[in-house]
Symmetry: C2
Subunit: 435 residues, 2 copies
Amino acid sequence: MQPGPTHLRPRVVIVGGGFGGIAAARGLRDVPVDILLIDRQNHHVFQPLLYQVATAMLASADIAAPIRSILRKQTRTVVAMGEVTGIDVEKRRVLTSSSRSELAVPYDYLVLATGVEQSYFGHDEFAAFAPGLKSLVDAQAVRAKILRAYERAEIEEDPSQHQDLLTFVLVGAGPTGVELAGAIAEMASITVRSDFRRIDPRKTRIVLLDSGPRILAGFDESLAQKAHARLTRLGVEIRTKTLVEDVDEKAVVAGGQSILCQNVLWTAGVKASPAGSWLRADTDRVGRVQVGPDLTLPGRPEVFVIGDTAVFEEKGKPLPGVAQVAIQQGRYVARAIAAQVVGRTLPHAFHYSDRGNMAVIGKNFAILESHRLKLSGLPAFAAWATIHVGFLPEHQSRGRVLVTWASAYFSGARAARLILNGRSGPRPQATTNLP
Amino acid sequence: MQPGPTHLRPRVVIVGGGFGGIAAARGLRDVPVDILLIDRQNHHVFQPLLYQVATAMLASADIAAPIRSILRKQTRTVVAMGEVTGIDVEKRRVLTSSSRSELAVPYDYLVLATGVEQSYFGHDEFAAFAPGLKSLVDAQAVRAKILRAYERAEIEEDPSQHQDLLTFVLVGAGPTGVELAGAIAEMASITVRSDFRRIDPRKTRIVLLDSGPRILAGFDESLAQKAHARLTRLGVEIRTKTLVEDVDEKAVVAGGQSILCQNVLWTAGVKASPAGSWLRADTDRVGRVQVGPDLTLPGRPEVFVIGDTAVFEEKGKPLPGVAQVAIQQGRYVARAIAAQVVGRTLPHAFHYSDRGNMAVIGKNFAILESHRLKLSGLPAFAAWATIHVGFLPEHQSRGRVLVTWASAYFSGARAARLILNGRSGPRPQATTNLP
């Protein structure tokens, strides 16, 4: 089962094929190690554009690529689709479960890059009514929820129900919440405007809630204010310092007020994947593993924890859960392992080089900060589009996304407006009543 | 609920948004009628390319478009997503069911274009192991099945299992079965060749079964022979005059022989949708409604049945279940209704103008027949690609498909190699064991 004569080469097991895991695997390309990368999915997802799949702009295939295809040229790298259930740090083994048997995979070096899950802050019962946005399956579910809202309103006999069906409450005003709000507003005012006969999609109401004092807490305040103004102009109602108290199929209760709505989307919080409990490690309150300056588990120099799975403080503040942190940490870990394998000195402690931050709000408007540069409006939008197309994982995706964006920019069309029912076969569920 | 003052205009209800239903709705664009088009899905699917979604070439969004977006410019056309449960031909009402209530929709003219479902010839128990290919959900399931076979083989410890995991049995050698066989062969020999470390995808075995004396019964025999030769060159084993006797998770029994395999795809037969039983009409043995020369139900001049839902004989032979028949019948019905509404004479009996037939086999090879023209090889492939891109329902899709095909043509890449688990959230099912 080894990909070659492994007795000569150390074995690196990477768990997770997100930004961190892929960066680590790529960084080890020319290092004499055997790599096994395990992920539950067969594909890497370009998370920053997940909201565009959720709002029917891009297709799932545009922002995802098979992990084994990304690492195709690394012949000493084996990619396995499977589920990790635990880690035996003493015996240096990754435990996996399967339909047939349990298997323990030995490692010399371990890289945990398992990411985060949506958190409902102890209210997991909200999940049934307020889907999150962490995977392609999530994005397709959110897309179906948004599109189905309009379909149901169009055939609803009782006009008093229309407003509830066309009210979207977004919980969490970080970049994902803000980008979703802008995209839904744009979809309502441009894309679906002329597609309905009995409802006016421009009556769509979008409420963006956040518990903090302002939106986009990770951004400079002047840029967040510009984003706030833009969202308001697009018709989005913003309520800050507002805690969500209850969510059910009819309404959201937040800040003591009830908002009647049938569409709630949740981007408010994250909790770490179970890596911390696998390692029995110290974690912060959301379950992220405390790592040393070299990203290793204290006392376990062969175990690295990176990206959203770890909490790493710089200047007294934990690093944000963004792609750049995961990528830089993945590369650092590859260098650290390479140094040990070929006997060189270890690199210095990990240092995050913050390249900046971007968020897009509807059409023609984005905010961008990078070092001292602060941009907003159309120039930031152009930069955002260029950078995001450039970073897509496959050449083919870039061409497809460019064609889609260019065509959507001029026509307002959104190509991926599909409600795909989960059932196979030609008889999907009935929806509501018909005219 | 009416889209306008309907007391003046006759109401046409169209059930089904496939090729036939869309053609009927479009044909009625300038006729003073109110149209209601009902479909269970929100989207029209360009069925001839469904096999490319199933084999990871195209994304679902590339070959589908929202029905309401296709009919956007027809302001007197209402599109409703919903489920029809029956028809009251006496009272001229379409019965619909919903989560809340039952509703009867009145009509002056009814067009039934509800298509066909996969048929397992009385062996519905095969369906669990042998998915069909009639909808986008089907195509995603087939795609996941094909890709998962390679994923499972790569992590399978027991090499004796590899061949079973990499054996694909395709039941039915009509155009869909032939096109699937060619695409899987191409995928195994080009696309995934360098993506695996422990298996050789070129060991993929593809067996194409048909109960008839030859493949592609609908085509001229000389072209079918060329397709047969091409498939054989691609390594596909073809077994004609072979009836499938049993299918389970381990094997297919056909023609008295057992083929060990874990991947069976079914394109062998169709049965009509329940329209025939809604109408209590005379049907043929697969449930297609017998219609008169004007495509109406005998004795019911206001009820039209078209496309795969109807059986219409010409020169003693029923018309084939292809898009062109449905489109021409949809247009004919629109003309027939228009004639009645504006008081002109009815058109002559429906006549099918056969424009020809095409099938593609892997890369650079297709067969094409049109009147006396018979083409095979690269010229037919070029014609096939041009015609299919030209007929895609939306401009944007054409651009995306062109980019994807062009890029795949030169790189061998298939962009849509995604296994999307049906579950929402970040914890999909475990697969088999890991290396």
